[in-house]
Point group: C2
Chain length 226, copies 2
């Protein structure tokens, strides 16, 4: 027994957050290990990375199943076969069956590119820009059946800069996703996160912060680099 928390990661595409988690898990003192990278698409670019990194992979093509429940049951079987204790969604683009969500209650994390509860759902960056917010961010949370809800483990704030497009804002936020997702997984794996109803209580002595400040360059007057 390694003593490490066994994690399955679900992807649909390039899986950049999966890569960030894999990099974190490669560190000798990190308290989790990846036992499975599962994709619903055989052509997900993230699978190549996972194989090259020596990670176990599985493909469960959603089109092979008549409905969401049977697809999710097949995924669940793969995840349990791999011995996973926690599931991390990383750009997994299928809605999940409530039975699957309930089966992994408080044991399934997701990262969303907005400061929840603001901007749930898709197309968050464009909507944030249209709303004219000056601060955007991302959220790691336990998954509940309602989309993009669930106890929040960590969040990061980034500035919206003059001239930002959906792409530049997405890139700035993604950089923070890659920081807080491994940070949140570490906190969970170390047993420093307790779920109480709709809230995740993070151990006050946790060494890492739930707020990160990006290096924003031109905002040097008021924003200091991490």
């Amino acid at each position: 027994m390694s003593g490490l928390l066994k994690v399955a990661i679900l992807i649909s595409g390039r899986g950049s957050n999966m890569r960030a988690l894999a990099r974190a898990c490669a560190a000798p003192d990190y308290p989790a290990e990846i036992v499975l990278v599962l994709s619903n698409r055989a052509d997900a670019a993230g699978l190549d990375f996972a194989r090259e990194a020596g990670l176990a992979t599985a493909i469960v093509p959603h089109r092979d199943f008549p409905d969401r429940a049977s697809f999710d049951a097949a995924m669940d079987a793969e995840i349990r076969k791999a011995g996973a204790e926690l599931v991390c969604l990383a750009g997994f683009m299928r809605l999940l069956d409530p039975a699957f969500v309930d089966a992994w209650r408080d044991r399934m994390l997701n990262v969303h590119p907005a400061l929840l509860p603001a901007f749930k759902g898709l197309d968050t960056h464009r909507r944030a820009l249209a709303a004219g917010v000056k601060i955007a961010g991302c959220t790691v949370h336990f998954v509940r059946s309602d989309m993009d809800t669930g106890p929040i483990v960590a969040q990061a704030a980034v500035p919206v800069l003059p001239g930002d497009t959906g792409e530049t804002l997405a890139a700035r936020i993604l950089e923070q996703e890659h920081i807080i997702y491994p940070m949140a997984l570490r906190l969970v794996a170390e047993g420093r996160v307790t779920v109480e109803g709709d809230r995740a209580i993070v151990d006050a002595a946790a060494p890492d912060a739930v707020l990160r400040n990006p290096d924003t360059g031109q905002l040097a007057n008021s924003v200091a680099p991490v």
Copy 2:
């Protein structure tokens, strides 16, 4: 003519944000001046501060008026008599008539203790804690008829810390309100803010940031002091 933007501030209580604006306006290079502090309550503690600071004050008791429209018209008359070009709401606890809001469209600012569009309305700190967010904040925005909507000029993010109560979170956010409200007013007074529909575009060359990072002490690993 001073060349300074003439500002009326509306308060209902202690007016701590009014005090922050007054402190800013006292600086020799600040581009705005306070020409009126108006309260709907004769016993507002902020009035004493204003008088001691040598500011013009007015009391328009809302109870003296049969309806919101006539009350707002009386306020409007006082504000115009004082020569104000911009209105700043600072803990003003009366809903405003749409005609008054329209008359001061893009010339009336408010500060709200949340990262809008999240947590509009009252009781924001308790609701933010109940939602389990890890990042809270405040927003300075132009006022529209719908409560706590309107083009966002500046926002500040603060961490929610373990053990926070509504009071401790409110105090941490208020500290940032006192920073970004004068900052936002400066940007507006300097002509660096353009309203386009529902968005406020801040001049890219503006020296101050729309994101501020508080000194959070125990989060020193990832949050650097301003």
